[in-house]
Amino acid sequence: MLALSSDIPTWAHRLPAGRKFAALFGASLAIALARSLPVQGAILVAAVALYLSCGPAFARAGLRALRGLAVIAALIGAWHWLMGAPETAALIVLRLLSAVALANFVTMTTRLEEITALVDRALAALRTPAVLRRRLALAIALTIRFVPVLSDKATRLTEAWRARSPRRASFRIVLPMAIMAIDDAEQVAEALRARGGV
């Protein structure tokens, strides 16, 4: 499925989602508040250890998810270094990497259903009416369905373009795509109503 969650089963997958999110919240707070380099360094080491504890394949997948950020972090660090603030540079890079790495870790080890269930429980605890929660669950599910459907439509129109032109498809396919997508949404709304709606 379209999601960051990893298929490789690990010990962290078995932890309750609520506890993982609470721990992440605590860790994020610590990362934001601590101004000491050794503390930040220790946090990053702990994050790396977490990934490694889940096996090499999982750690590689985690690294892949971080690759783009690592480049950015390096550039930001270099910039601050050149501006004569190596201390700040190290702090920013460490913070960025640990915060994103830990958050990704939680996301990778929690299945989508568990997270949506957690959101639902949290809203219930906040006394959100059941009707609203059902609507939200529905909206989440629909969006997950629509992303691949949209990219499929985009592919089809791009091919229809390329079948009649040697040049690359231009922004002109955006309008027919938008119209098609809106018509689809109307159809889906009807299918929803046919089975009880909201």
């Binding site: 379209l2 999601a3 960051l4 969650s5 992440l24 994020s28 998810a65 783009g68 950020l69 480049v71 950015i72 972090a73 550039l75 930001i76 910039w79 601050h80 700040t88 920013i92 960025l96 915060a99 994103v100 790495a101 958050a103 990704n104 939680v106 996301t107 990778m108 929690t110 989508l112 997270i115 949506t116 959101v119 609507r135 529905l138 909206a139 989440i140 629909l142 969006t143 997950i144 629509f146 992303v147 949209l150 990219s151 922004f171 955006v174 309008l175 119209i179 997508a181 809106i182 018509d183 689809d184 949404a185 109307e186 889906v188 709304a189 009807e190 929803l192 109503r193 709606g197 909201v198």
Partner: protein, 181 residues
């Protein structure tokens, strides 16, 4: 109601689909992306309330792990990146766009939609983005404003595109105007 939910979900997905188009990431860690076009369309087509809801839904889905942030980013980690200010600004921007365009007799016309997209998309979102980079990157405010400058030409183009697409959609599906809100 079903129709509103389907449209809100569709536009949330649309922002996600646009975010996946390859963008150019600038040195300080914020990419030039087509996402903003999606956010602008939320405001111009769905109106203030539904537009903002669609953007919030998009953010929620990033948070729960769908790879639909810029460059396929996913999960809570996305909110720890230097671009977090922009993400926070997205729903506010969509809301403002909806409000501004509603002040016109023909909210889905080209000029009202473009103007609203400029106000909410160019101004509001970038203000949030600048504050985000100011805090996140530990730079002075003028430097943060300097960082945001390269996005402006692209964001102007996106606002005009949002206006044109909205007007064309309105012509093709006049019924859309009635559901704004």
């Amino acid at each position: 109601m079903e129709r509103s939910i389907a449209l809100i979900a569709l536009f949330a997905a649309l922002i996600g689909a646009l975010a996946l188009l390859p963008g150019l990431t600038l040195g300080f860690g914020v990419p030039i992306t087509a996402q903003t076009l999606g956010v602008m369309l939320c405001g111009t087509v769905l109106g203030a309330r539904k537009g903002a809801l669609a953007v919030l839904l998009y953010l929620l889905l990033i948070a729960i792990g769908l790879p639909i942030a810029a460059n396929g980013g996913a999960g809570l980690g996305v909110f720890a990146r230097p671009s977090v200010g922009y993400l926070v600004g997205f729903p506010v921007g969509a809301f403002v766009i909806g409000l501004v365009s509603s002040r016109f007799a023909n909210p889905m016309g080209f000029w009202p939609a473009t103007l609203a997209a400029l106000v909410g998309g160019l101004v509001v979102i970038n203000v949030f983005g600048i504050i985000g980079m100011w805090i996140k990157l530990d730079v002075t405010l003028p430097v943060a404003i300097g960082y945001a400058a390269p996005f402006m030409p692209g964001d102007v183009i996106k606002a005009v595109a949002a206006g044109a697409i909205t007007a064309a959609l309105w012509k093709a599906r006049p019924g859309l105007a009635a559901q704004r809100g």
